[in-house]
């Protein structure tokens, strides 16, 4: 592979390199907890007072606006939990609160996460009218047995219906799959992935199943009742994923995210390019820069406690700490190297106040784990990406 003239390096965004400013809103409720999920999600059988939460979101948005100062928003993301359980009016109210706080140009990416089980045509239309222009569907698998294993409430037929409806309703659509399931062979996964690409629009998120502490799967795994593919098998599945998606025109632009060039998630790019983002709602994280100082914010995770906190004092922030240069440099590095476009080395140097260790960089270069691009960028090669965490640990020293 030559280092010069990499056409796939060029993203369609005119603001290449500009990390942008994203707004994330967390809807912390689900119809049921999935056994692999360690996200901040809660089940409320007695229903949820959405109006009260909307008021809470609006108050916290105003508060975050105070912290961030005036900014131009480049993307909005409604994640969860299951945001598609929100009423369209709730979504509309949240989006208008954001537009009231910051400058929100027309046509920016506005994504909503949706579960196939909670899809209704009428709701989708409502979200679309409220301003959502991209949905991300939690499909997770294309066979019913594995969907049941993953604790999903939908079946394959329901997923198909949701995909079709989403493609009809929204200009942009993505869906998630989870692979490296128990006993999954490379052949079976490749076939499922090929099928998925057939249904895909221009974006897919493909995650390896990981056993997270505190989940039901963690307990089963520890007790030996759940066997996931070993490291070698997981590597083969990962490699097959890269090959299959690249061959079908959906190459990875990030470790687990695949898109046709130009169809990348603008919002998630902000995270990986280490831009600022406001985190609204229970358990949301933010990064906000004020007068050259970067702050990390975290809010109360428990939904009702968060709400009471917001109602009492305007925000649910439990922690707001300034990141020192070393911490910022670490975050920039570990996020940036996840991207196919790589890390802006000059920016890293100006954040860190030093250069990368030349001996380590040279070693990783010679071993073929990283490569230099002409425009002061450093990125992982495919053999570096599969051991990214080790590469980052090596460079971070």
């Amino acid at each position: 592979m030559t280092i010069h003239s990499q056409p796939d390096n060029a993203l369609a965004f005119p603001d290449f390199g500009d990390p942008g400013f994203g707004v994330y809103v967390h809807w912390p409720f689900c119809a049921a907890k999935c056994p692999y999920c360690d996200f901040n999600s809660h089940v409320r059988l007695k229903g949820i007072d959405e109006e009260r939460f909307v008021a809470g979101f609006a108050r916290e948005i105003a508060c975050m606006r105070e912290l961030s100062g005036p900014r131009e928003v480049t993307s909005i993301f409604l994640g969860g939990g299951t945001p598609s359980l929100m009423k369209p009016q709730t979504v509309e109210a949240v989006l208008s609160a954001i537009a009231g706080a910051w400058h929100v140009p027309d046509g920016i990416e506005v994504t909503l996460e949706a579960n196939p089980s909670s899809v209704e045509a009428e709701r989708f239309q409502g979200y679309r009218s409220a301003g959502v222009n991209r949905v991300s569907l939690g499909v997770q698998a294309l066979n019913d047995k594995d969907l049941r294993f993953l604790g999903r409430l939908h079946d394959v037929a329901g997923a198909m219906k949701a995909i079709d409806l989403a493609r009809e309703t929204f200009p942009r659509m993505s869906f998630d799959l989870i692979y490296a399931r128990p006993d999954q062979t490379v052949d079976a996964w490749t076939a499922e992935l090929e099928e998925a690409i057939g249904y895909a629009a221009d974006h897919l998120s493909l995650y390896q199943l990981t056993i997270e502490e505190g989940t039901p799967f963690y307990g089963l795994h520890k007790a030996g009742k759940l066997k996931v593919p070993d490291n070698d098998q997981a590597a083969l599945l990962y490699e097959a994923t890269q090959e299959t998606t690249a061959a079908r025109g959906l190459p990875a632009y990030e470790v687990s995210n695949h898109a046709r060039p130009g169809a990348e998630s603008r919002h998630n790019l902000t995270y990986w390019r280490y831009g600022d983002y406001a985190g609204i709602g229970p358990g949301a994280h933010g990064r906000l820069t004020r007068a050259g100082h970067k702050f990390a914010t975290v809010t109360e995770t428990h939904p009702e406690t968060w709400l009471e906190r917001v109602e009492a004092r305007g925000d649910g922030i439990t922690e707001s700490v300034e990141l020192d240069t070393e911490e910022q440099a670490d975050e920039l590095l570990l996020m940036g190297l996840r991207l196919r476009e790589g890390l802006d080395v000059r920016r890293w140097q100006s954040v860190a106040g030093r250069t990368l260790d030349p001996a380590r960089e040279d070693f990783l270069l010679r071993q073929g784990f990283i490569e230099r691009l002409g425009n002061d960028r450093l990125r992982c090669t495919s053999s570096g990406m599969i051991v990214l965490d080790a590469v980052v640990a090596d460079l971070a020293l």
């Binding site: 990962y238 902000t270 670490d330 071993q367 599969i386 051991v387 990214l388 980052v392």
Partner: protein
């Protein structure tokens, strides 16, 4: 002090570890009223934390007991507590030389063990009268009659009048005090009119008092204000204080023949005092010196390096301060290509090494990397010169060496006979030569000649594990023997790791090399690349293992909410890496240096 010689008894207690020596000492102190009840804490004589925790005695300690015997007379009993462990046999010998008799304490259920023998022989060497004491007779498993037979059979000591006691409950202890008076001899000879002659038994550094010297007066009188001369070092000091230890330090007017006590005299360092030296009056010196002792020779060496190179000065300070109180510990600066600056340290044995390491990390809060322990090799070079090799990394070119010699030990092992097979195999595997084997009931006593370098790593651990803790072991260094030794280097990713090189017997090299490579394979974490691990003699690779490359190590999901958690993980990784050492781009955890040397199941 005016106690006639006939009313003084100087004695020691010799025992195997855990047979109750310290408990008996406590009980004797308590029963003679030397300490108020409220001052009693278990094992008074084991002053250091480490001594108390491990149930061992490292430094000799002494206590003076005032005893009113059943004959109506008042006696002064000086107990010198001796270290029980083989590493400190040198200290045992000199402590014993200040006494005339010993209590031989044997656990009434476990019976005679290896250290019982070693310490008893030391006491007999010092011409001691021996009173056998069977301890723990209150335990259900106690078999005093069988153990008495065993003592007579193994040691050849008349055990018919052995005392049966429980130091724990106090049963039988009064009889021990009576036996000390009746059966142990008073100090021989000694005249107050003669010029001062005293034995320097021990010395230690006390943070508040400075150097304290423990003495046994032979002739004359030692008193405050006197100018004394150390006959060996020829240094003179003015005595600031003399006193006895009860175990509180109590100042007295003077110390007279037969008495044991301390003196302080503005001595700066323990190293200024030579144990075994003769102390006399500067103006009126004695004509004859006491025979003295050979200085303790370190037999095991290892490198100690700070994990953080910035701690080197702190380590220098710490070893210096330890040395103040432990003249048998030696050190000199060493620099290693891999580990940076540190110290090559000499120890009396493995336990001594462990204790020093532990004290450095505990008392001085230092993170250390210890390299492979090594023995001292003797070498005759082709040009006729003689070299002492303390560090395998300094091994001269093979072409220049005429002969290499290594220290051998005579080891005594006592074990229940069901473990005999594996123990014989262990000794055989370690190049042992059997010198004797005998049985007492169902216990076997093995005597083996072994090269010390085969024992120095993990012999004792292995022995304990294959005998489920029942075998006991003791040794003494006997001689240096010529041997076919080669230097084995370990290469990690093609780079020699000096801290892992060692001298091994040619016949054992291949197996040792294979073991080392296999162990390192498990100890070194996977890297992004394949890591060859090789053992080599000269340019020849004799064993090889490969650590396969890390196949996959990438976090699948990482979004805005994950940045903090991932950064904290990275910070932890960075801190972990600081605790490792890099060789040929390979990070080796510091624990690996010692762990690699401990051989697995054989």
């Amino acid at each position: 002090m005016d106690t006639p010689l006939s009313h003084i008894r100087n004695f020691s207690i010799v025992a195997h570890i855990d047979h109750g020596k310290s408990t008996l000492a406590d009980r004797l102190i308590q029963m003679t009223g030397s300490l108020e009840e409220r001052d009693m804490k278990d094992q008074i004589l084991d002053a250091m934390d480490i001594e108390r925790e491990r149930g061992i005695t490292i430094k000799a300690n002494t206590v003076r007991l005032e005893y009113d015997a059943s004959d109506g007379e008042h006696y002064v009993l000086n107990l010198i507590d001796t270290p029980g462990h083989v590493d400190f046999s040198y200290e045992v010998a000199r402590s014993l030389s200040a006494c005339e008799g010993s209590l031989l304490v044997v656990d009434a259920s476990q019976g005679v063990e290896a250290q019982t023998l070693a310490n008893l022989y030391a006491a007999l060497d010092a011409d001691h009268e021996i009173v056998p004491v069977l301890n723990k007779v209150d335990l259900p498993a106690a078999e005093p009659e069988r153990i008495k037979e065993q003592i007579e059979e193994v040691i050849g000591l008349d055990a018919s009048d052995a005392l049966e006691i429980s130091a724990k409950t106090g049963v039988g202890v009064p009889a021990v005090l009576e036996a000390i008076v009746k059966r142990l001899p008073p100090p021989a000879g000694g005249s107050r009119e003669e010029p001062l002659k005293a034995l320097l038994v021990d010395s230690w550094y006390d943070t508040y008092l400075g150097v304290v010297v423990l003495v046994r007066v032979i002739d004359g009188t030692l008193k405050k204000g006197q100018t004394i001369r150390m006959m060996g070092t020829e240094a003179t000091y003015r005595v600031d204080k003399v006193g006895v230890i009860t175990p509180r330090m109590v100042e007295v007017e003077n110390l007279q023949p037969g008495e044991i006590g301390f003196l302080m005299a503005a001595i700066k360092e323990v190293a200024d005092t030579r144990v075994g030296d003769t102390i006399t009056d500067d103006k009126r010196p004695t004509a004859t010196m006491l025979p003295g002792f050979k200085p303790a020779q370190p037999v095991v060496f290892c490198g100690l390096f700070p994990v953080d190179a910035g701690d080197f000065e702190a380590l220098r300070d710490a070893v210096g301060r330890l040395r103040l109180n432990d003249a048998s510990f030696s050190y000199e600066t060493e620099s290693s290509a891999a580990l940076g600056f540190g110290f090559r340290c000499g120890f009396l044995g493995l336990l001594h090494l462990e204790i020093v390491q532990e004290r450095l990390s505990r008392e001085f809060d230092l993170d250390l990397i210890a390299t492979a322990p090594s023995v001292v090799y003797g070498m005759t070079m082709r040009d006729g010169s003689e070299i002492e090799l303390h560090n395998p990394a300094d091994m001269p070119e093979v072409m220049k060496i005429e002969e290499i010699r290594e220290p051998w030990i005579r080891a005594t092992i006592l074990t229940p006979d069901e473990h005999l097979g594996p123990i014989l195999k262990l000794c055989q595997d370690r190049r042992g030569v059997q010198a004797d084997m005998s049985y007492v009931g169902n216990r076997a006593m093995l005597v083996y000649d072994l090269p010390l370098n085969e024992v120095v790593f993990d012999f004792y651990d292995r022995l304990k594990s294959i005998s489920r803790g029942y075998a006991s072991f003791d040794y003494q260094i006997t001689e240096y023997r010529a041997s076919d030794l080669v230097k084995m280097s370990i290469l990690v990713n093609g780079e020699p790791v000096d801290a892992l090189s060692m001298l091994v017997h040619r016949a054992a090299a291949e197996k040792r090399g294979r073991d080392m490579c296999e162990r390192l394979k498990d100890l070194i974490p996977k890297h992004m690349f394949k890591i060859p691990i090789q053992a080599a003699i000269g340019g020849t690779v004799i064993a090889r293992e490969t650590i396969s490359a890390l196949r996959k190590d990438v976090t699948s999901k990482c979004y805005g909410g994950d940045a903090t958690r991932k950064r904290k993980l990275l910070e932890k990784q960075k801190a972990g890496k600081k605790r490792m050492r890099q060789f040929g781009k390979v990070d080796i955890p510091q624990e690996a240096f010692i762990a690699a040397l401990k051989m697995g199941d054989e």
